[in-house]
């Protein structure tokens, strides 16, 4: 029972991180039409920043956080300029996808060359853990819960309540019409890129103490893809549900296998595609007969 609880907590915690990456993917897909294959590398970048500012330069945590936010925003702007603007009128959206792969390689290599080539550990933001009998939750987990929940609420407020968010989603839905209405679509797209990079980078920063800092953090991206499909393609709540589902599946799968974790997770993806292609939260669209 304790083991079960422990795994549930771990699963949800990891799942929330997947959900953050998946939400970032959806936002980019909506705003720019690009399937971002550098998402995992961007997340690893967040973790590397955590190590760079806290472990290597020993900065004051407050200054470190501000610096990290600023540099992530800068990365977002550069990323947008490289991976979106040149491809606005392309006939082959796949070129954009390849470009993100290339950009991902550059990001991860930069981390290796300029920050560290070794796998490093980062001190958690709040050390120690909560003991309830033999049931242990590190405080860092609470922190992850809290921050991701805060970001999700923030996103919801931004896109559903704020004028700025509405303008952004209008621009995402129909660029041409938005342009005609005088919405600065280039600016809103760039803003979306910055938000996404910031979000994913934060996820990386939060997970750094749990998983240690290395480029292998980028494998989270594949799980985020799985979360996208399982939750229901294209909706933010779907991404959250999907992310938690993937996290739980992964964590419960340790009951019967440790070597074939990937098979279980991606097998679940294929199963969902076969049985319920619209995902857990997706609604069935009436399809033409053709």
């Amino acid at each position: 029972m304790i083991l079960f609880l422990q795994q549930t907590v771990t699963g949800i915690c990891v799942g929330l991180a997947y959900a953050m990456i998946a939400m970032g993917l959806i936002l980019l897909l909506r705003a720019a039409g690009v399937m971002n294959f550098a998402q995992g590398n961007l997340m690893a970048l967040g973790a590397y920043f955590a190590y760079l500012f806290l472990g290597k330069l020993h900065l004051n945590p407050a200054i470190a956080v501000i610096l990290a936010i600023l540099s992530l925003i800068a990365v977002g702007i550069v990323f947008c300029c490289v991976c979106f603007f040149p491809f606005k009128r392309t006939k082959w959206p796949q070129a954009m996808l390849i470009c993100t792969i290339g950009a991902g390689t550059v990001i991860s290599e930069c981390c290796l060359c300029f920050i560290t080539t070794e796998t490093k550990s980062v001190d958690p933001i709040v050390a120690g853990s909560l003991h309830l009998g033999s049931f242990i939750i590190p405080y860092q987990y609470f922190f992850i819960f809290g921050v991701t929940a805060l970001m999700m609420v923030g996103l919801w407020l931004l896109f559903d309540k704020a004028y700025c968010g509405r303008v952004m989603s209008a621009a995402a839905q129909n660029k041409y019409a938005a342009d005609l209405l005088g919405i600065p679509t280039n600016l809103t797209t760039m803003l979306t890129f910055c938000i996404v990079v910031l979000m994913v980078g934060t996820a990386g920063w939060l997970l750094a103490p749990v998983y240690r800092v290395s480029n292998s953090l980028s494998i989270f991206q594949a799980r985020a893809f799985a979360a996208l499909i399982i939750g229901g393609f294209g909706s933010l709540p779907g991404a959250i549900v999907g992310g938690i589902a993937v996290g739980l599946i992964e964590s419960y799968s340790t009951y019967f296998t440790t070597t074939y974790k990937d098979v279980v997770v991606f097998g679940a993806l294929l199963l969902v595609l076969a049985v319920r292609p619209q995902g857990i939260l997706g609604s069935k669209v009436k399809k033409d007969k053709a």
């Binding site: 006939k91 033409d288 007969k289 053709a290």
Partner: protein, 246 residues
Amino acid sequence: MACLQVEDISISFGGLKAVQDVSFALEPGEIMGLIGPNGAGKTTTLNLISGLYACDTGRVLLNGKDVTDKKAYERARMGLGRTFQTPRFLSRSTVGENMKLGTDLADQMGFLKSFFGKKGNDFLDEVDQYLEIADLTVNWKDDISSLSYGQLKRLEIVRALLSHPKVLLVDEPAAGLNAKELEKSVALMRHAAEKGVGIVLIEHKMDMIMNVCDHIVVLNFGKMIAHGTPEEVQSNEAVIEAYLGR
């Protein structure tokens, strides 16, 4: 025998009854006009006939065969050609590849046969004949995106004719064309009708419809409110009401 017979077809989207109990018959060589105010369900009717939407009720008969349960591509193979309101071409291919798709449909050639057997050049004469009627000059190897809207509009009818259809559904051939180009489109359709193709024509330009069509069906709010010869329709009370309001 009628080459296209539509019996009581209906479809609704959510609560909206887009097409309700429309029936008509089309003889070979006849040009039938399908008119009505915007949103009357004309294009939806065409989509029902060509199989892009499934009918909720009713039957569609092609050359006496019931095709209601057939998929769109099967109907196309049985001799149902169509064009679209905005021309639909393979945007990343050449003119030649687009035209050959039409002849592929006429040949009904299987993949393997097409792999080993060479296609003769005979269809090129046919293409040139059609292009001359349509007053088009195109380079076979040009990208399709290099053509203008008016050219595409006519080229789409040419492509549909290349597939040797028995019934041709034409959706707003005049939209965006100037008078001279329109004349050529009409000439193409007349030529096809002379060869025995039954044509259903959607159009807003009344003078053209009255001129070209042998027979007219009028739709309003998804219902058929009148049908008959152009003269009969012109003097029909319900039609005047639908168009002018009361």
